[in-house]
Amino acid sequence: MDDRIDDLIRDEARDYNEPPATPTEAMWVAIAAGRREGRKDGSIAPIVAEVPIARSFRPSVLPFFRLGVGIAALLALGIGIGRWMEHGKSVQAPAVAQAPATRMPAAPTDSGATAVTPRPEEVGRELASSASPRTPRGGSPAQFVSRTERRSGAEAAAYDFALSQHLGQSEAFLTLFRSSVRSGRVDPVAYASARQLLSTNRLLLDSRAGADPASRQLLQDLELVLAQIAQLNTAGDSSDVHIVTEDMDRGDVLPRLRTAVPAGI
């Protein structure tokens, strides 16, 4: 019985997603362009994550809102840390120059040198106070530099993560959009999705994630494409839709997104 069904399955499955002729030349042109782009900015992402075999995809109740809230929270965190750092810098700057003139009593160390241990509440007061230069309450320049580097690293990681998530979402969206245009079935939801992505894109452009010239250029090109899609409407002229996809192809937006997004995002 099982053998009979297996034979049937093998016979009937032969034309499952039967491949057409390989579009060799068209793909080669895109590969050559992608290679040039990758060489130019060195951004070809390594294969960092393999998809686990037979991984189950856990459906979530509101994936869209969860993702949106996640990205917004990361952005807010990044911006908050950035502002905090800016504030901190203006307080810390004179600390380097005036370190010998510390007002607070210093704790003696084993070597006899004085090392000042800043209390958390003091650091908080420093950062919360005005940005006018004043004598620092404590902390050696080396300690400040080390803390600054740590904060800076965490901040950069938060922005990188938010940027990768956004670029990954945009890549998936544009892939689907292009496919639906070619098949002549553009879902009206696509325009709403484009508006959502456009908002995130603008937030990222105005944040530290947009400071890197390569990322900024990509975000700007992406903004143009997303804005064009968002302005289309369900009754829009189909030639407008094709103009958008042509712009996408001309700017190599999708290949650039793919090289910018690490595998696994």
Binding site: I9, A13, M27, W28, I44, S56, F57, L176, S179
Partner: protein, 177 residues
């Protein structure tokens, strides 16, 4: 020229060797990716990404497996990642749609055997589907599949067995009829 010679020339910066290597393997990679993706645009995208990654990491290829197997592993990884992203995005779009639209389910005529089978293959977990497509449709051996998916040959056999069992289950009433 064999793969080893081509690889050496590609690493030396020979652009014609890059093209020769691509020509030698693109059909097999495209067939596999298309079977998995089922969409020409997506398949093209995944094949392009496969070769871009392969060329950029060719220096890391140690020759422990055949080049075709190594390319197959990149292609499967890229395709499953891409399909996962598309699936996630589709779930997002569904969340945006009007709930009333979702509730409007129509009972369609019972699909024929082929349609039912293709639907059942689509519904297999990605790993099972990859093994089924590679073995039963594209003729890969369990050793090649294992190397491509980073699993043991025994795991590949077990996944194929389970995939077929699920398909049998999905078609059981057709056969008894």
């Amino acid at each position: 020229m064999d793969d080893r010679g081509l690889i050496a020339r590609v690493l030396a910066g020979d652009a014609t060797a890059e093209r020769a290597l691509y020509d030698a393997h693109v059909d097999r990679v495209f067939r596999l990716v298309y079977r998995m993706a089922g969409d020409l645009d997506q398949a093209q995208d995944y094949v392009q990404e496969t070769f871009i990654r392969a060329f950029s990491r060719l220096a890391d290829f140690r020759g422990e497996s055949a080049l075709s197997t190594w390319l197959g592993s990149i292609a499967i990884s890229v395709t499953l990642n891409g399909l996962r992203k598309v699936k996630r995005f589709r779930q997002r779009e569904v969340a945006l749609e009007d709930a009333a639209e979702l509730g409007r389910v129509t009972r369609e005529a019972e699909p024929d055997l082929k349609t039912r089978l293709h639907g059942a293959i689509d519904a297999l977990p990605p790993g099972y589907r990859a093994v089924f497509v590679m073995h039963d449709m594209e003729g890969y051996t369990h050793e090649e599949i294992a190397a491509s998916l980073g699993v043991q040959p025994g795991t590949s056999k077990a996944q194929l067995f389970r995939a077929r069992a699920r398909l049998r289950e999905a078609l059981a009433d057709f056969v008894t009829d």
